[in-house]
Amino acid sequence: MTAPVAPLRSSSRFAADPGLLPWCALAVLTALCLLLKAELPWLVNFPKEWTLPLAAYVNAATDAVVAIIQPAFRALSAMLDAPMRGARLALAWLPWPAAMLAVAVLALKSSGERLAIFAVLTLAYILLAGYWPQSMNTLALVLLAVPISIVLGFALGVLGYARPRLRPVLLGALDLMQTVPAFAYLIPLLLLFGFGPVVGLIASAIYATPPMVRNTMLGLERVPAAISEAGLMSGCTRRQQFWQVEVPTALPQLLVGFNQTTMAALSMVIVAAIIGGFEDIGWEVLSSMRKAEFGQSILSGLVIALLAILIDRLTIGFARGPETGPTRGMRWMTPRRLVLSLAIALALALAIRFAAPDATLLPETGLRMEMGAVNQWLLGTVRDYAWFFDGVRNAVLYCLLLPLRVGISGSATPAIWGFALSPAAVTTYSALILAAAGLALRGFGWHAALAVLAAGLILYTGFLGLPWPIFILAIALLAGQVAGYRLGLFALAGFTLILVNGLWPQLVQSLYLCTLAVLLCLLVGGALGTWAAHSDRVSRILKPICDALQTMPQFVFLIPALMFFKVGEFTALIAIMLYAIVPPIRYVEHGLRHVRADVVEAVEQMGATPMQTLLQAKLPLALPVVMLGLNQTIMAALSMLAIAALVGTRDLGQAVYVALGKADAGMGLIAGLSIAFLAILADRLIQAAVARSTRA
């Protein structure tokens, strides 16, 4: 902004801001499109004839490439098969008392007595529920995938640390690896490696590598200057400096990477059951869900949840001890005693196997046999209270989902809302929106007014009825203005690619589902986070719930949603929300609690009420942190999209899932990349917005 413009701007800031002009043009175009909608239907529905058979090209290319390189990958597959078989046999061989002792000892060393007790109880539950062999099979895959990811991730992280020029490429690749749904690359993996658990292993290794890379880079970068200089002044060679100074100093961060990698691998091993199980716990959940045996799916889902929490606490405990310092149990468990205890566990295993070589030692029936009755009871309960769940579902469906999807123009019919959309109603609605926009303009400037207008328009036409040229141009313009023309071009290119591939309807479905889920998460999670920020008790109650929700593999969230609300969009919404609600709670609480105390004191001293303090001081100051939470929420919602496809949606996730069923590598990849594109676009947009707001 040059100096002469400034006074102009303050006198009439709407007219002078050059950013407003393109939006005015766009508004005119929108009006034109809406008027012409009836005559030119292609404005809303992108015609099938115009789509490019890109997916077919990709398939042709993939087939050709696969034909050439398949033997090499099949060989790799065979190579990986042996250690996998070995790991499974070893875990199957291990008698449960020995396994329990070993895990309990490790838990004691990692986080103290409470985790040790939790570990024993978890394993006992798995044993009694009759899922021991399946759990061991799942763990065998995790045990193999994690070292691959750790070694690969560490190497890539070191590369990124040592060669800053490679970092942008590396970070871009990591973004893709984490945002393309795993279902999408399961297809080419299937083609390359053939059918079998190896594919799950490879997919897990790919999915679990990025956290290790990121944490490696972060840890090495954060080595304090004084420590690395002290190393240099001690006369370290480059190699000594790296292995004896930098890596040990970065170790806590590397262990955080280890924790995240393990959790990602576990999550993906379970999801990979979708391409065909092999007696693992993910398959148990999936098959019992498909058979509508809710009792069993809850039992097996609980196994996954408990296992996830146990592994998480176990690995994070090694990265950082409890805040109150090591407990008595942790101090007692010296490294020497740890080794001794593990040796005892091994000796116990050998002794048991020597005495009883073939006994499984597993309980004969397990809880599972009792499940018939529980199943009946659960189904009965759900049936008895069906009026309640159906009521909730229908209320949300008709009042929220439907208007958003097809718009007020579509859903306001006598059959649904009890009245038709008369010209008078349309006029009233327009007047209301315009009035709201006018208020926003006065109060908050033209950005807010524009947002109100856009929301009013979307609500009127619905996501599905919005003309695509308007949509693409609006997002590209927004991206260009917030984050620079490069992101604008990126948005334009991405949306155009989705359009010409004939995925527009799915994209719109995804957008509407995600937008709704994110908005609801922000509303509910934000309220909970605010409450937790002001009440230590609420914070104490919410923390373990958030922890548990966040460690849970995505798959698990489908079980309760499906049980109460049956297959459908609403169920998907609930599942997405369950997974995506943690970031807003966490970030809002953290943001509000860490607002600079001196500012809050100054505002309170002026005589602000608690509500004024919250709305006018704390929330605006916490905004950058809250925006980061929003970013995480969007990422979580998008990544859950592919999983939620299992309960019946019509979005991009479903496109990936269908492609997986048809082994259509091209369509799977394109739909998967579309989801990744949305995620990356949202991420860059929000980061740019945060950077702008913190700079200003």
Partner: protein
């Protein structure tokens, strides 16, 4: 305390450190006499940051040379240039007469392993090693056998008075204790040249005072050649044999503490040293005059006694002192009038400000 009589350990000649896009561009023409101020001005105008501007000084063996300046004055960069943690843009650094800047990577590692030790403001202790292992770390890097390095480390730990804390980890120690570990570690290889980069700045004032005493005690025993960086003027005057004052990358004055308070080079230095009490900074040796064969007074005092300590004796009626010469120079005489002249000057400074 005659520095000139001892051999020069470290010499720094026209050292520059410039950050920016093309720092080398400004120093490619050898043989030109460059005007430092003009060049620094030009560098700033052309989006470069001259962190060290034409620094030149010499440090004699066994001397405590303090570099003082406010934060951002380039003192930490300068000390890093001396150890080549930061590569200077131009100039020469002579260690025992050999140009340090021409040392190869291998030679540099050897020098750091044996000839230099460094203490850092934020301690720089390795968080995963115990006190003992931290102190032994430089020896481990050299591949010394475990027994030898443990013995040496224990010796160093007792030198700094940390016996009994050998198995503690850094995060279990207080700041003062952590810096003792840092000192022990930097001395473990027995270096002749000792860099201390604001070693006591992160400590509480009381602990800082205690550590300064400790440092002086160590130096009386060890007689290292010391480059000591600080932003604390009281600390600088307390510890220094000679000190250099830096401002915006440039050394504005070098001299003994008494020289600097008595003859500040410019207004900046004068303002800077305004609050330093003259009587405490100036020692008997600074203002004693040669006896020239006259009779020596019977009361004798050491050359490094501060004038402040003489006041009670003057009050009890002593009119003059003998100050024995150091390094073979003849004894000198200090009479009450000279002390009173300083007192008068101090009075004048007070009323002016």
């Amino acid at each position: 305390m005659n520095a000139a009589s001892r051999p020069i350990k470290l010499a720094c000649r026209n050292v520059w450190k410039v950050y920016g896009r093309r720092p080398a561009y400004y120093f490619d023409s050898r043989g030109y006499v460059i005007d430092p101020d003009a060049l620094a001005e030009r560098l700033r105008a052309e989006a470069h940051l001259p962190a060290v501007v034409d620094a030149s000084f010499e440090v004699a063996t066994g001397e405590i040379f303090v570099i003082m300046g406010l934060s951002g004055s380039g003192k930490s960069t300068l000390v890093r240039c001396l150890s080549r943690l930061v590569e200077p843009s131009a100039g020469e650094i002579l260690l025992d007469g050999k140009n340090l800047l021409q040392a190869s990577g291998k030679e540099l590692i050897e020098l750091r392993r044996h000839a230099m030790g460094m203490v850092f403001q934020n301690f720089g202790l390795l968080p995963h090693l115990t006190v003992l292992d931290n102190v032994a770390f430089p020896l481990k890097i050299q591949g010394k056998p475990a027994k030898e390095r443990e013995a040496r480390a224990r010796e160093m730990i007792s030198l700094v008075g940390l016996e009994g804390r050998e198995t503690s980890f850094p995060h279990e120690l207080s700041g003062g204790q952590q810096q003792r570990v840092g000192i022990a570690r930097s001395l473990a290889v027995g270096p002749e040249l000792w860099f201390l980069d604001e070693p006591f700045s992160a400590l509480d004032p009381l602990i800082r005072r205690q550590m300064q005493d400790e440092f002086l005690r160590l130096q009386r025993m060890l007689k290292k050649t010391i480059i000591f960086i600080t932003h604390d003027i009281a600390e600088a005057f307390r510890l220094a044999d000679r000190l250099a004052i830096m401002r915006a990358g440039k050394i504005v004055q070098i001299g003994r503490p008494a020289d600097i308070v008595l003859n500040p080079a410019d207004d900046y230095v004068a303002q800077f040293t305004e609050d330093m009490p003259l009587l405490r900074v100036i020692t008997a040796g600074d203002i004693a005059t040669p006896a020239n064969g006259a009779a020596l007074p019977e009361r004798t005092i050491a050359a490094d006694t501060s004038l402040e300590a003489l006041i009670p004796q003057l009050a009890s009626g002593v009119a003059a002192f003998t100050v024995p010469g150091t390094g073979g120079s003849p004894p000198a005489v200090l009479d009450a009038a000279a002390v009173l002249a300083v007192l008068e000057r101090e009075q004048a400074r007070r009323t002016r400000s």
